[in-house]
């Protein structure tokens, strides 16, 4: 089926080469980082994880969200998701690939990355994260590819795929839970030392991923003859509504615990993020933008008339996505480091090479996504006149 990615309109190729150009710029900058070291980034002794790891953290959520299509379709027989489950699975493949690349570019000694496999260390959450991420990548490639291949031939997928599909459900939950555990179990980092961390991760994942999926569905409808349909998009909209509500609620719990307990260490990161601490306030405008976008999106989502309007829904989904990208793809990781564990404040901001490398990783993700979606959409276009299968 890969050959379907090799033919396309002029616009398709312009997009592909645009991505390749940005990837090229990123690769050049990565080579500079490779020879100079991670000192090329804005990270420091106090803020030892920066933009790379926060992007990884955010994208694990986007990857996990495929389960929001798989569960209704396979467990509850919600037929309307039949046509777009594949879009969720391929989004997961692209996101997990980005996750791995972000971890890779963050390594001080990337040539030694196999040490994680050569010296398996079950007490390290990073070891488990590597296992679940790789597993999830393979599950989604295999499931997506074989179900799409079967669809193309007009036959139901082979029986052996079913257990893998069911396995992918707890697996999706695990990738985000394990990633949350990277943070949640660290002594001395008050901002992350919270039992609702994994729950927050899942709630934000199930809001941000389906939001992106809705936007992607709308784009697919515009640029191809394949229409994902109004109803699946509306159903996704409801999922985003519930998940976003849960996310804001969980964030509220964190605020309550920090401020009602009045424990300085717990309050410092919140002060730093939303009001500034000891004159350091780099993230304040970003965090407020995130909060305002979240509130606006929630108001629009909760109102069914607004949600049913696809233009408003698209705007809402973009708001949710950007809001969560700021909150989880930046604030959560950086905010945990900036007030350091001994009451000092060291700020962080990504440098230009760091930003360009990150952009390139995103572009590689979009390239994978474009190619996979091109294949899926072409197959869907061919089979659109056929009756529903399985």
């Amino acid at each position: 089926m890969l050959e379907k990615a090799l033919t396309g309109s002029k616009k398709y190729w312009v997009w592909i080469f645009f991505l390749l150009a940005l990837i090229g710029i990123g690769v050049i900058n990565y080579l500079r980082q490779f020879s100079y070291g991670l000192g090329i980034t804005g990270m420091s002794r106090d803020v030892s994880w920066g933009f790379y790891i926060s992007q990884f953290t955010f994208l694990v959520g986007v990857a996990a969200s495929a389960v929001m299509l798989v569960i209704p379709y396979y467990l509850h027989d919600f037929k309307k998701f039949g046509k777009i489950v594949i879009l969720g699975e391929f989004l997961a493949v692209a996101s997990v690939s980005m996750c791995m690349l972000f971890i890779f570019v963050d390594m001080g000694q990337p040539m030694r990355i196999m040490n994680v496999i050569l010296h398996p260390t079950p007490n390290s959450i990073l070891f488990w994260d590597a296992i679940v991420l790789n597993g999830y990548l393979f599950l989604n490639i295999i499931v997506g590819w074989t179900t799409l291949g079967a669809d193309r031939k007009g036959v139901p997928p082979s029986a052996w795929v079913k257990p893998l599909i069911y396995l992918s459900i707890p697996w999706a939950i695990s990738i985000h839970t394990v990633t949350a555990f990277l943070y949640a179990g660290l002594p001395g980092r008050h901002f992350w030392l919270t039992a609702v961390m994994a729950a927050r991760f899942l709630a934000s994942a199930f809001a941000s991923g389906p939001s992106l999926l809705i936007i992607l569905c709308l784009i697919v409808r515009k640029v191809s003859k394949f229409d994902p349909g109004k109803e699946p998009i509306q159903a996704l909209g409801k999922i985003v509504t519930y998940a976003m509500f849960a996310n804001v609620f969980l964030l509220g719990l964190e605020f309550f615990t920090a401020f009602y307990s009045n424990i300085p260490g717990h309050m410092h990161p919140f002060h730093y993020l939303y009001a500034g601490l000891e004159g350091h306030a780099k993230l304040v405008p970003l965090m407020w933008a995130s909060s305002i976008l979240a509130v606006v999106a929630l108001i629009l989502l909760i109102n069914p008339n607004m949600r049913k309007n696809e233009n408003i829904l698209a705007f809402t989904c973009a708001s949710v996505f950007i809001s969560l990208w700021i909150d989880k793809g930046f604030g959560l990781v950086i905010g945990g480091f900036v007030p350091n564990p001994f009451e000092g404040v060291t700020e962080y901001w990504p440098t230009l090479p760091e930003a360009l490398i990150s952009l390139a990783v995103w572009c590689i993700g979009f390239l994978i996504l474009t190619i996979l979606y091109k294949i899926a959409v072409t197959v869907r276009e061919e089979t659109s006149s056929w009756p529903e299968l399985h």
């Binding site: 070291g37 010296h119 990073l126 002594p187 564990p341 001994f342």
Partner: protein
């Protein structure tokens, strides 16, 4: 090439079975391999069940007292002086009371103590979070309690830095070698992209020497075996009130601080 005893025996057994026969040759070889499998240990080497350090801050009076200690460590361990806080590498350094013991200060404490520098280094915790999180066992704890770094195995993920509640770890954000003023050929330099920290001078203990900082501290730093009731550290700890950094998080640091009373004010 290294081959461990068990693998060697398997090989020997297999070759005997195969009729290659050389059992006596195998025994001959075993003698040498048995000899070589033991690491040479210096007879003078210092050993302990639980190494610990006591920092008596009343003994640190002038800026030079601190400087001597820090310099002794940094010069023999080839710690680079990069000159900016962003890329900084440090094994032992000073900070204020407020930063050393967060949440344990108050505005009415003795003025002298408020502004007195405190020496900070890796705490060699009994329950080290850095060891727990390391995905490659590049950070590990020795039997004698020293939390060690294998810089050749470190992949530079910096999980240990996120996990350490004491900020005891430095990362080589860039090649450190151009920033080493005078290289000590007896201790390895590090490369960019790995984490490093104080190792309680394990290499000096192996030669029967005290840690470099202790040697230069004029009695301000006391080093010894916490499990030995007759050791100097135990004697000092049993006669002075001491505190440790962040006891509430349960890592059980092996570095103790004797704050002293009015003599520090």
């Amino acid at each position: 090439m290294s081959i461990d005893r068990r693998e060697f025996l398997k090989f020997a057994g297999a070759s005997t079975l195969l009729g290659l026969g050389g059992i006596t040759a195998v025994q001959e070889l075993l003698k040498t391999s048995a000899g070589a499998s033991h690491v040479m240990v210096d007879e003078k080497a210092l050993s302990a069940k639980r190494w610990a350090m006591v920092i008596d801050i009343s003994k640190f009076k002038t800026e030079a007292d601190y400087k001597n200690v820090v310099q002794a460590c940094h010069s023999i361990h080839n710690v680079p002086d990069i000159g900016n806080p962003k890329d900084e590498v440090k094994w032992i350094w000073t900070d204020t009371y407020e930063h050393t013991f967060p949440g344990q200060g108050n505005e009415y404490m003795p003025e002298g103590l408020k502004h007195k520098p405190f020496l900070l280094l890796c705490n060699h915790c009994e329950q080290p979070p850095c060891v727990r999180v390391c995905p490659t066992k590049a950070t590990f704890k020795r039997k004698d309690g020293i939390v060690m770094m294998d810089q050749h195995r470190c992949i530079g993920c910096r999980f240990c830095m996120a996990a350490c509640p004491f900020g005891a770890r430095s990362f080589n954000w860039r090649d450190p070698r151009p920033f080493i003023k005078e290289q000590n050929p007896e201790y390895p330099t590090r490369t960019m992209g790995v984490v490093e920290k104080c190792t309680f001078c394990f290499e000096r203990l192996a030669k029967g020497l005290q840690p470099a900082c202790v040697e230069k501290s004029n009695g301000g730093l006391i080093f010894g075996d916490l499990s030995d009731p007759n050791s100097e550290v135990r004697k000092v700890l049993s006669t002075h009130y001491s505190i440790r950094r962040k006891p509430e998080i349960g890592t059980q640091p092996s570095v103790y601080y004797i704050i002293g009373g009015s003599e520090n004010a």
